[in-house]
């Protein structure tokens, strides 16, 4: 009789906990990142963040060593490839310098400022996603440093993601590779706009709904200014594709950033989509005020 009773009790608790989990999930989804869920996340961050920062400092050399061992076989090939790339880049640098001069001149004429001049807050990645399905990072800056929901997170290569949860001294970055992420982009080759979605560990997916021009492999994509400051590099098209009437143009894109090397990032705090002046007829961003202060 006793084992039967024990089985019943544990099964009842099991069913109860499963139902409780679903209830919590429902409330969390409904509350859209606020309320009790946000309080619990903030509490967990306050508890874990110091330990995680300490653990990161301790495990970083160990992780680097293990990573180095696992990559040792590929280092020779990588060296050869880097040398070839170096030669190519030297050539390109000359072209870029010339282009930069022309760009500066054009910006002066048009009275525009490059997006990187927006106020930013530097932050360090304090912890990683606990599972393969979470494409997030936690950073060591929060509301106390001016971080707010929706702000763009960038590094030296381009757009990393957006802030989707903020605590006092930490914030969660939803990476652009997350299937729940979407970014409005502009193809610098065709000047057409589109929408990029994350695909997890794979390349990003570009969708262009109203384009008539084909996109070419190697075309660079930058943010279009509707949600994030315009002009931030997002990725490079890896497959040429043509628009077919009545269908969206869909192709794959390599992210501009290297997630494996993500360590320090900058949060663009001096820009809001509400600041952008949008032409009511065309829907295009015609003016983007930028905050003058840079917080470091």
């Amino acid at each position: 009789m006793l084992p039967f009773r024990r089985f019943e009790r544990s099964t009842t608790l099991f069913v109860g906990l499963v139902m409780l989990s679903f209830l919590i999930a429902t409330f969390d989804v409904r509350s859209d990142g606020t309320g009790l869920g946000a309080m619990m996340r903030t509490g967990a961050q306050s508890l874990f963040a110091p330990v995680q920062q300490l653990a990161t400092a301790v495990t970083r050399p160990v992780a680097g060593f293990i990573d180095g061992i696992s990559n040792i076989a590929g280092l020779r090939d990588e060296l050869e490839a880097t040398r070839a790339e170096n030669d190519l880049l030297r050539q390109q640098l000359l072209d870029v310098q010339s282009t930069e001069n022309r760009l500066t001149e054009l910006e002066r004429i048009l009275d525009l400022e490059p997006p990187i001049d927006a106020a930013t807050v530097a932050a360090r990645i304090s912890s990683l996603a606990p599972t393969e399905f979470d494409h997030i990072r936690w950073i060591d800056r929060g509301t106390e440093d001016g971080i707010a929901l929706g702000q763009a997170v960038i590094d030296e290569d381009g757009l990393v993601g957006r802030i989707d949860f903020v605590a006092d001294r930490s914030a969660r970055v939803r990476l652009i590779t997350d299937p729940r992420s979407g970014v409005g982009v502009r193809d610098l080759g065709t000047n057409e706009t589109g929408w990029i979605e994350g695909r997890g560990a794979g390349p990003l997916e570009l969708k262009m709904f109203s384009t008539t021009k084909p996109v070419q492999e190697g075309d660079r994509l930058v943010t279009d200014g509707t949600r994030f400051p315009p002009g931030i590099p997002v990725g490079i098209i890896t497959e040429s594709a043509e628009a077919v009437a009545g269908f969206a143009l869909i192709t794959s894109v390599d992210p501009a950033i290297n997630l494996a090397e993500l360590d320090f990032v900058k949060v663009v705090v001096g820009w809001s989509p509400l600041d952008a002046v949008v032409d009511p007829d065309t829907g295009e961003v015609v003016d983007v005020p930028l905050a003058p202060v840079t917080v470091e």
Binding site: L13, F48, A260
Partner: protein
Amino acid sequence: MNLRPVTLSILLVFVAVVIQTTMFGTGRVQPFGAAPMLVLAVVVACVRYLDSEPALLLGFTAGLLLDLLGGSPLGLWAMVHVVVAYLTLRLRHRADSAVPLVAVGIFLLAVLAQTLFLVASTLFGQSLLSSSGLVMLILLPAAYTVIAAAAVMPTASWLLRERTVRTWVR
């Protein structure tokens, strides 16, 4: 109820969560783009030595911590870890079987956990099923979890066995 194994189990889960969120991730130790589910391995290892109710609550707590430090809606990993804890409770009398059988069991539990999470997250509007390389995203961490369990289970056994062995033998 002896609180010592429960306290030690919670401590092990905390350590596993910290290691999981600092060491195993993109850019850190993640061979072939995947990492072991260390927290799940710890839950399976500890549940072997706990009474039914603390075991289920440990699974719930471990999952909820992953939810709080992750990016999915709260409660999904909690639900998954409760299921894992419950199945481990039902099967733990076979834990002393041949090692390959235990390894296969942990592998299947890890696969089930991730599949369950994907289904549950889809029900809650998370478009994770569109992730590329989904099969490898499930199988590789499951295989690594078996390797992690090989280190975690003796540790849990060493910490918890002596004082609680009578409570889990049915």
